[in-house]
């Protein structure tokens, strides 16, 4: 059982990494939304897919 902490660390880092990337993507969506709002849409647009 002595190697448990490495196991825990590995899985934790993987999940942190994936969630971190998701947060980054969410940030990109927010930035794009802001930019969308600042421009008058010439035609009807669907919202962002996410």
């Amino acid at each position: 059982m002595q190697n448990f902490w490495y196991l825990f660390a590995a899985y934790t880092l993987v999940w942190l990494g994936l969630c971190g990337y998701l947060l980054y993507l969410a940030q990109e969506v927010r930035a794009l939304r802001r930019e969308l709002q600042s421009r008058p849409a010439p035609s009807a647009e669907d919202g962002p897919a996410a």
């Binding site: 490495y6 880092l13 421009r39």
Partner: protein, 244 residues
């Protein structure tokens, strides 16, 4: 998957229903399969005799690697199709998958390093798989850097498509050369993670984790595709579109 690669909409407009549906489905499937996989990884899978519990890293390390290669395969296909057809959507596919792929590869290296530390005692070791993965990481980081440093988006798309093709086709050669190189300096202790053959319980858990990770990749890709397609849309609006 077929939905994303040949979307019914002919223009580069906001992806709308198709992509959103795909992403949601992939995400939901990922959540379900990942839950099952985690149960399998921590409860069902037997503990390996030599390495103890830490061997369970295998069940996330290998699927991460598999999906990373899948991601770069998608980069290759997107790059090829972009150069052949010159439709923006292929470039969007390539660069989205490249970014997700770099994230996945980073996680492969991190998990591999921790596993190696537990089993071999060092944070880094030049074993064949880790080394090849590191080289792979560098290639696709170069892809992202290339996109960042080239000003004109058209040129960026072309150049990175070239790199996407060259890089992917290089992978088997890199593998071969690294494996040959490795056999000159065998590890002091060679611990085979899978043993002579994977016992069926381990195999099933691995497969479940593989499916879960693939769904995860697809949902991340879907998200990124949506973002990038929107970005293309905005860019097209800023400068009047000169066709595709």
């Amino acid at each position: 998957m077929a939905q994303t690669l040949s979307r019914p909409t002919a223009s580069a407009r906001a992806p709308g229903g198709g992509l959103a549906l795909f992403t949601t489905l992939a995400g939901a499937a990922g959540a379900v399969t990942m839950t099952l996989a985690l149960y399998g990884i921590f409860v069902l899978a037997p503990t390996e005799r030599t390495q103890g519990v830490v061997q369970r890293v295998f069940y996330i390390h290998v699927p991460l690697a598999w999906t990373a290669y899948l991601a770069f395969g998608v980069v290759f296909v997107g790059s090829l199709l972009y150069l052949l057809r010159r439709r923006r959507r292929w470039d969007v596919l390539a660069r989205s998958s490249a970014e997700v792929g770099v994230v996945l590869t980073t996680l492969v290296i991190v998990s591999g390093s921790l596993w190696g530390k537990a089993v071999w005692g060092t944070w880094w070791t030049w074993d064949a798989r880790l080394t090849s993965t590191l080289v792979l990481w560098f290639i696709y980081v170069a892809y992202l850097m290339l996109r960042a440093y080239v000003g004109d988006p058209d040129r960026a798309a072309r150049y990175s498509a070239v790199l996407g093709i060259v890089g992917f086709l290089d992978i088997p050669i890199i593998h071969m050369s690294v494996i040959w190189w490795r056999t000159l300096h065998p590890e002091p202790v060679v611990l085979r993670s899978e043993g002579p053959a994977l016992p069926p319980e381990m195999l099933w858990v691995l497969l479940m984790s593989l499916v879960a990770m693939t769904c995860l990749y697809l949902s991340l890709l879907g998200l990124k595709l949506g973002i990038e397609t929107l970005r293309e849309d905005l860019r097209a609006r800023r400068s009047p579109p000169a066709g595709q």
